[in-house]
Each structure stands twice: as structure tokens, then as C-alpha cells.
């Protein structure tokens, strides 16, 4: 398989409007990945599937990822007026980088037996603009996996034929795999040696806890 930069060049030529970026992988020996913007995600995936040199027809794995809002501190040299003079001072800027939800796709090719090609797409933020294109029109294998990501992360896949919760029940309100998910404070009474849990249980089940 061609290297990722080569592929990127070809893709950029084929889709001039697409925003492509190579995301380096910190772990040695593991492939870097290609970040595609949501708008051209479906087109790029179609290219990967149908290109004769790639023939990535096997979408093996679709993963959701949750990146929280980050506060980045950086030192900036700014000019300030100080006693009538303009001097340069270091100032520490705190910047909030908005978090986003990310979906990672692992493509393989069954006829050419190469892979994986790792593709990523990111939503604009974690709250209200969590739309990504669904790859189900191209790859049926994404059907349940996208439903699962919708269920557990809350990414909304536009174009998915049957976007329902997969693992949690219908009517469940939250997305449990998000990093800031807080488990609901209701559970069955179980005696436990752990003091904190016992305390919590006592609040819910005073009678049982008293006996236990």
C-alpha cells in the first residue's frame, strides 16, 4: 500500500475542497492516521473503496473517541505599555480548546490484503454539533458500529438508515462512554465491605442496609 503522505496527495488532488490532515501516531510501529473533515468524509471513503490501487473494501472497525475540552496554557510575548514605554512581556494565556467527538475507521482490503488505513473524522464540538456522515451507504459493517457510537457517544450519523440505540435501552438519556459521564446514583442494594459504597447504599435502602 502506498504511504499515507502519497495517499494524501492523491486525495487532495481528487477532492480539492476536502480538508485532509495526517495525525501522527505517538506509538512507534503503528500507522499514522488521516483526518478528514466531516463534509467530505463519505466521498473520501468512497474513493478508498473504489480506487484500484487501494480497494479498501473491508471496513473492519469503527471506534468512537471522546476528547474533552482542554485548557491549553501557552506563553505569548505581547507588547504592553508600561510607564509610557512599550515593552515586551511574557504572558500566560489560557485558552480553552473545545473538545470534540472523534470516530476512527480501520479499513482493510480483502483482495489486496493490505491495511489498515486509519481514517478519522471529528465533530465540531461535543454538545450540539455532533453530526458526522454515515458510512453505511458504502459499508454495511458500519451499521451496528455507528449505532453503538451513537448510543454510547452521541455522535449523530447523517444518512444512517436506522439510527437507534444499540446497547442501552430506548429512552435512556445519556451517553455512557463519554469521559464526563456520571453514573446515575441508583442501584440495587448489595452489602459490600467498601465503606463508601455502603454509605451510598444506605441512603437508598435504609431498611436493607440496617439488616445487612
Amino acid at each position: 500500500m502506498e504511504t499515507l503522505p502519497q495517499l494524501k496527495t492523491r486525495l487532495a488532488a481528487a477532492f480539492p475542497k476536502a480538508r485532509l490532515e495526517i495525525v501522527p501516531n505517538g506509538s512507534p510501529g503503528n500507522p499514522d492516521s488521516l483526518w478528514v473533515d466531516a463534509a467530505s468524509g463519505l466521498k473520501v471513503a468512497g474513493f478508498l473503496k473504489n480506487d484500484a490501487a487501494l480497494q479498501l473494501d473491508f471496513l473492519s472497525n469503527v471506534t468512537g473517541l471522546d476528547w474533552l475540552d482542554k485548557t491549553v496554557t501557552e506563553k505569548v510575548r505581547v507588547k504592553r505599555e508600561f510607564k509610557g514605554q512599550e515593552i515586551e512581556v511574557d504572558e500566560i494565556l489560557e485558552k480553552i480548546v473545545p473538545g470534540y467527538l472523534e470516530v476512527v475507521y480501520h479499513f482493510y482490503s480483502t483482495p489486496l490484503r493490505h491495511g489498515p488505513l486509519v481514517l478519522r473524522m471529528r465533530t465540531e464540538n461535543r454538545t450540539d454539533r455532533t453530526h458526522l456522515p454515515s458510512l453505511v451507504p458504502l459499508y454495511r459493517s458500519a451499521e451496528f458500529q455507528e449505532r453503538e457510537i451513537y448510543d454510547l457517544y452521541g455522535v449523530i450519523f447523517d444518512g444512517h438508515p436506522d439510527l437507534r440505540r444499540l446497547l442501552m435501552w430506548e429512552g435512556f438519556a445519556d451517553h455512557p462512554m463519554r469521559k464526563d459521564y456520571c453514573e446515575p446514583d441508583d442501584y440495587e442494594y448489595e452489602p459490600t465491605p467498601h465503606g463508601a459504597l455502603l454509605e451510598k447504599a444506605r441512603r437508598h435502602y435504609p431498611r436493607e442496609a440496617a439488616h445487612g
Binding site: 452489602p191 459490600t192 465491605p193 467498601h194 465503606g195 445487612g212
Partner: protein
């Protein structure tokens, strides 16, 4: 000839029918309460705490809480002993394992630096009292080193040899440093 495959299948079941009367390779059932299978030395069920000598004072556990942290289902609960001034001692005051939660994965044994927690082979632990009977406390967990030797002879011997070597090394180090440090508990000096 249609039906031949069915007759072949019937022949096979007939062979197994008669084979079950004379071929131990086919008839593998063990009548459990009367006969019990021999467990291999590696067989594991639930953890127990090893002690040398005294069942309370001789516990090898120093209440370092590594197993509590590493335990995947979080079924271990440890509270270290304190002396009068509130200083933590290297001894567990409470050591509970909720056996109904424990999945017998042996990770506590692997991560224990002091060879103090080992896997038992007792598997008939059913009790009528699920809540009390399945939370094992320190006294229920403590079992002697001799018992350990009995269930896992090879492993226990290796552990004993390793502990002895460690002790010797510590003593040698202590002797070399001519330490003013307290000699007691030198064997277990390690950061919790």
C-alpha cells in the same frame, strides 16, 4: 441411495451407545459428590492470605493496598492497623474479600510483592447466607503456609526459597551497613 446418511448417523450413535459402557474415552462423566476430580496444582478458586506461625501476627500481608488497587472487580477492602498515635502499621486491621464479586483472576497474587496472598483451591464455598457468608474477613482468609504447601507444593517451595533469599539479602545489607535502623521487620521494608 437416499437415507444412507441417516443410517450412517444411526450407526454412529449406536456405536456411542455401546461405547459408553466400555470406553472411558467416551464416558467421561464424573459422579461429583461421590468422586471428585483431581485438581491440577495450578487450579485456582479464590484468594487467601498466607501466614507463617501465628494466624494473626504471622500474616505476610503488610497492607500495602496494591492488590486492592489492581483488583479488577474491586472486591478487596483493606484498612491498615494503626498504633496508638495514629501511625499506620504494616499490618491489615481489616482485610475483606467479597467472594461473590471476586472473579478468581489471580491478579492480586501476581501483583503482590510480598507473596502474602495466594489462590486457594477450595471451590465448595456455597453458603446459605449470601451476604454474610461470602464476604470473607481476615480470620477466614488467613491460612497457614503449611496449607499452601499442601495445595501447591512446587509453587510454595519456590516462594519459600525466594523469601529466604530475600531475607538473607536484607540481612546481608543490614549487616554491611551496620545499620542503626531497627532490625525488626527488615524483611518487609518496602515502600507501600
Amino acid at each position: 441411495m437416499p437415507g444412507f446418511g441417516i443410517i450412517k448417523g444411526l450407526k454412529e450413535t449406536a456405536r456411542n451407545f455401546f461405547g459408553s459402557y466400555h470406553d472411558p474415552g467416551r464416558f467421561v462423566t464424573i459422579q461429583y459428590p461421590e468422586e471428585k476430580r483431581e485438581h491440577h496444582e495450578n487450579y485456582r478458586s479464590f484468594p487467601f492470605l498466607v501466614y507463617d506461625g501465628d494466624p494473626v501476627k504471622g500474616l505476610r500481608c503488610v497492607s500495602c493496598k496494591i492488590c486492592e488497587k489492581e483488583c479488577p472487580p474491586q472486591c478487596i477492602y483493606i484498612v491498615p492497623e494503626q498504633d496508638g498515635s495514629g501511625k499506620l502499621l504494616k499490618f491489615p486491621r481489616i482485610f475483606d474479600i467479597d467472594v461473590s464479586v471476586c472473579m478468581g483472576c489471580q491478579i492480586c497474587v501476581e501483583v503482590c510483592p510480598f507473596d502474602s496472598i495466594k489462590m486457594d483451591q477450595e471451590f465448595e464455598v456455597s453458603t446459605a447466607d449470601r451476604f454474610g457468608g461470602l464476604i470473607l474477613n481476615r480470620s477466614k482468609l488467613a491460612k497457614s503456609n503449611e496449607y499452601y504447601h499442601q495445595i501447591r507444593p512446587a509453587e510454595a517451595t519456590a516462594v519459600d526459597a525466594q523469601l529466604a533469599a530475600e531475607r538473607e539479602r536484607q540481612q546481608a545489607k543490614a549487616a554491611a551497613a551496620k545499620s542503626p535502623a531497627p532490625a525488626a521487620a527488615a524483611t518487609r521494608e518496602k515502600k507501600p
